[in-house]
Symmetry: D5
Subunit: 155 residues, 10 copies
């Protein structure tokens, strides 16, 4: 059986909190990995990510999937949700914004491996997808497809 | 033709039984592998797994898929079903709970290879998936995708 | 052939504009109906509507479909998009918010008939849908289903 | 614009609570209808309802959809979720359980109209669905299909 | 709350039984309707019904959906499953077989309303579906589509 | 139980036969209706109907669905399949060909009600569908949708 | 084996005609109805209709479905395809353009009944659908859904 | 062009035959491979395989897909169908039954490569899949996925 | 408005050619590859291929996908379509017929690489698929799946 | 955090522009890569690409997906959209047109890797797909499938 998780350091859990004003407000937190010797994958899906276009101020939307293999830490899920919500009124290009999230989570966890897929909603009829991983995954780990269908227009 | 399975040791089969109180009550049983020399995969799907959140006591739900290549033993299917049902009133984190199941089945069967995929239902709009395998599968075995689509939000 | 649309009165078209601060800033505009004697239906779909929860300040998301049969006016589509975007930082209950949109568009257009379907994303695993129409549609008009599948959980 | 909702009477909101022991523990609460003069439909979906079989003690699962047209009251959504969770360790037949929920919500709200669809997961390969409504819906209201596909076996 | 179901008369429940030799062996049983005053629909789905062709002796397969509105009785689900299994080695034409089931269940329950849809698997590339109901359903009852897609060939 | 079908008059059954040269070769046959007093629907699906274009000689393809409510006769299914195959080298317009089939079957059976849906494959990117029924169906009969999705181009 | 094709001679291939310059060039033609006494529906689908926005000159795309019940005439399908292609470089609002097509075909055929559904691709994330019919369809005719799913954004 | 197949030895073809009593009755036959030098794959799909549970006598159902690369022989398709039908009244465990089929076909054909996927319908809500292949497929051969989706419960 | 089309003159429309009598009539043609130095894949899909069974004379149907990487030549698409149509009244086994097409196209083009997938419609409920390629594809080329789902029976 | 993008050189952004007359009018522009040291993939989808057939002048349609790994530059998305629109009145073969786009974008960006998939709509019932990439992708990069289903005809 796994060791009970130490939750004494968590500050976001157990009370309602508003949205952070922007992505530079520190909210990301971590908990110890309960099975540190096993190469398993944790997947988070944020289907309604939203930020602003830096040129026009119009809202942008994306479906984001984050996969990682933990080393010593797991990301605490409510703090990750708050961090993603902090982009709501922040302007950033699609390509820049996607990689910023990956770098921030990577710096917190120093995981064995990490990747991000960002599936942006179309503006002007032509969407952009962005895909990045920290390198080839470790031998013997199992990493399923993210399974998000590409955009098909109206058809 | 295969050898008839020896079922004299089975204690769960043939009478109705209630749910075990928790995952530490031993219910898992095994039967001899009828084709011990062939590297074939057995897949179980438990589409309505349920446990409790260790922090809030709220129910959690997952769709769980277990794949393994047997060595000398098969897991008896009704006892596996009972074992999974024993998590119904047990509190455990998603990551810990998933790997506990894999370790318990692995200890019973010492299979050639085993993997688990746990697809947890969203809490707060952002689900968690957990993927683990015991290592790279043996050469020449055929292991299809688990085929569970990632969460897509409402869309 | 239809009469050319008179676009002299439109103020949103042709220059980039930021988001209105809230739904009370007037942005909705209308253009003359090019086929005033025909009972046809116009459908708008806003798949990424977002507002704030009035109790917790957390973001809410909805997929909204608006159908109407015009009398003398059409709603100008860019102004409708801006109006819906004005809910981005506005707190309102699901039921109230949905009917507010219907009433605002109805007051602008006094259409022959109007309905709204709001398909809210789940919070806590249980979504809310809201459906309203101004009354039975006129005889002989053709009104297809909105075709949005109800929430299915993870399965 | 709608009147602000009076939330002073709500007792479940704002603090974490465990599961009620059974469906007789009163948790259902109501809030005033913000648009009392309009015949609109509110839909709740509980995709992971679970209770126990009264004969064998085995867990049962259902996907439940509840539609209603409010008169003076809305059901408060968190209390409805708690009420449904209270069936977790309660034994009841499919047909009885489904109608009990409908009657309980109906007694609280005295709505203009109400229906329930319960889509039970198969036991022994043959599922049961239960459908009930309080009568024909009022003229001119719009009531979309619940859109839950019948069971198809493995195919 | 509903009255507890009287299960003393049930003979199939609680012990394993083999398949009845043919549909004339009486196995269908009934239990009292727990909500006799409400016009609700109960749906059974038998996705793997099988019988034999009366001319060639080859196996036939069908997906069968049975809907009814109970009067005083519910059909006991395990006995219905056994009754349907009794066609396994019985020869009968598609049209005759489908209506025989409807008539047998109707004679047992004298329900308010009953219908059957039988979706036969193709022989020679061209399937047969059979649809029957006992008459128009009662006013105000809710009767969803059976939702079985017609055969599409290979495409 | 239904009366055994009298199959003595059937000439197509029980031996392999080639394709009829054209639709004027008489092959359609009928068998007595085993449940003559019940208004049930029989559906045939011919997913790979093929004929020739009368102008260019190129092959045309259609997916055809035939629904009817029998009076005294059922159409014998193998003879219907042969009749449909007889169009393989026959030239006919889409609209004419579809209604010819309906009229031929109608003349053989004089059914209570009959309809045909013909879903022709696209030529030049724009398909033609043809829909006809003999009149409004009888009160109280149950007639499901044919459920063939309209053409969507490549999308 | 054949020799390589010399494509120099192919520019006259089939004496194909170019696109009409605009919708006012008369190309629509009609042929006699082969079954004038029967109320059947003919459906055309044009999945890649394209025109220009009258304000910005940008291309617009739509999926268009046209249904009608012929009186004395059928529309000749190649001429209808050419007519729809003539909108390629023509500027027109969505609502106006859709009804213009319906009126032009209606004037040519004076059909018993006609409807048009136009499903426009999104500009700025929010599509427009337009639905019109000439009135309630005649009693007893069969008119299936057009079956085009509403826009769902990226999800 | 390929050599005409020698069909003189086939005994099942051309006359109607009943079902073999059990899998030990020899019915499997083979025909010469018309393209013996090419590594191509032949796939058979038996979507309605049925056998009996060796413990309870209840019917089991599976969807079975068989892929092989022929060496000198093809399996004759009608005889394979009869062989699979012979399990109809035969009791066998899922794992044993699946591998028995693979071994029987392999012994008849001594193919270059062979695999079997058996997708068993759920009993007690938790299905079993079995996957086996004779080894890694030969270099340069093309072997598509079997494409059968795993079980998802009701959802 | 245009005058009704006189269809007497249409029999010469476009100098369309009839179908070749059988696959030995040479119709396949080729055009020069416009990008001879680039390893790209060209895919043709023939969704309605039809031939005759060599034993019974009944029609067979297949969905065929042909992929190749050109060297010096492309196949001319209209001639390929005519070649495939020439099998309409030709008898051939599934396995033989599929490989004949691949060999004929390969002889004309001597392509860098070629593969064929033939997805035959079921006869007697059990379909056959045939897959072949000329060898492993060249390094660095991109070859997507053919994406044709295997047969699923009725389910 | 990423460096702000320098947008001073962009000429297409911020004012409405008409369509370029043909693909030789230079409109493609580029912006600096904000994360130049990371091997990530950018995907554009153009679901409604249209050009003209060089032989007949008829319109052709394609769904185009472009994937690349940037080196020093990103393509500016509005200029790419304009470039693709410039093919609207330009005649080109499918194979030639697809590769022209790939070469033009490649020359502007000199990316680490690039591929294009063009899924052309059927003419005469048989579509063409074209697939090309600049070579094998770099080790450790993550490149999801383009996920566009092949053509299936009407089925
Ligand atoms: Ca389309
Ligand atoms: Ca795979
Ligand atoms: Ca959406
Ligand atoms: Ca599920
Ligand atoms: Ca509906
Ligand atoms: Ca099936
Ligand atoms: Ca097809
Ligand atoms: Ca319906
Ligand atoms: Ca499209
Ligand atoms: Ca309908
Ligand atoms: Ca979404
Ligand atoms: Ca694959
Ligand atoms: Ca579910
Ligand atoms: Ca099925
Ligand atoms: Ca993949
Ligand atoms: Ca088809």
């Amino acid at each position: 059986m796994s060791t009970p998780t130490d939750i004494r350091g968590l500050t976001q859990l157990g009370h309602m909190s508003g949205l952070p004003a922007n992505p530079d407000v520190p909210v990301l937190e971590r908990v110890p990995n309960p099975h540190p010797g096993m190469h398993y994958v944790v997947r988070f899906v944020a289907p309604e990510f939203t930020s602003l276009c830096p040129l026009t101020g119009q809202p942008d939307f994306a479906h984001i999937v984050l996969d990682y293999i933990p080393r010593d830490w797991l990301v605490e899920s409510k703090s990750l949700k708050l961090h993603l919500s902090s982009f709501r009124n922040h302007g950033s290009f699609h390509e820049a914004c996607t990689l910023d999230i990956a770098r921030r989570v990577g710096a917190l966890l120093t995981p064995v491996w990490l990747r991000i897929g960002a599936y942006w909603y179309p503006r002007g009829g032509m969407p952009i997808d962005v895909f990045w991983q920290s390198g080839a995954p470790p031998e013997g780990a199992w990493i399923p497809d993210q399974g998000v269908a590409p955009y098909r227009g109206r058809g």
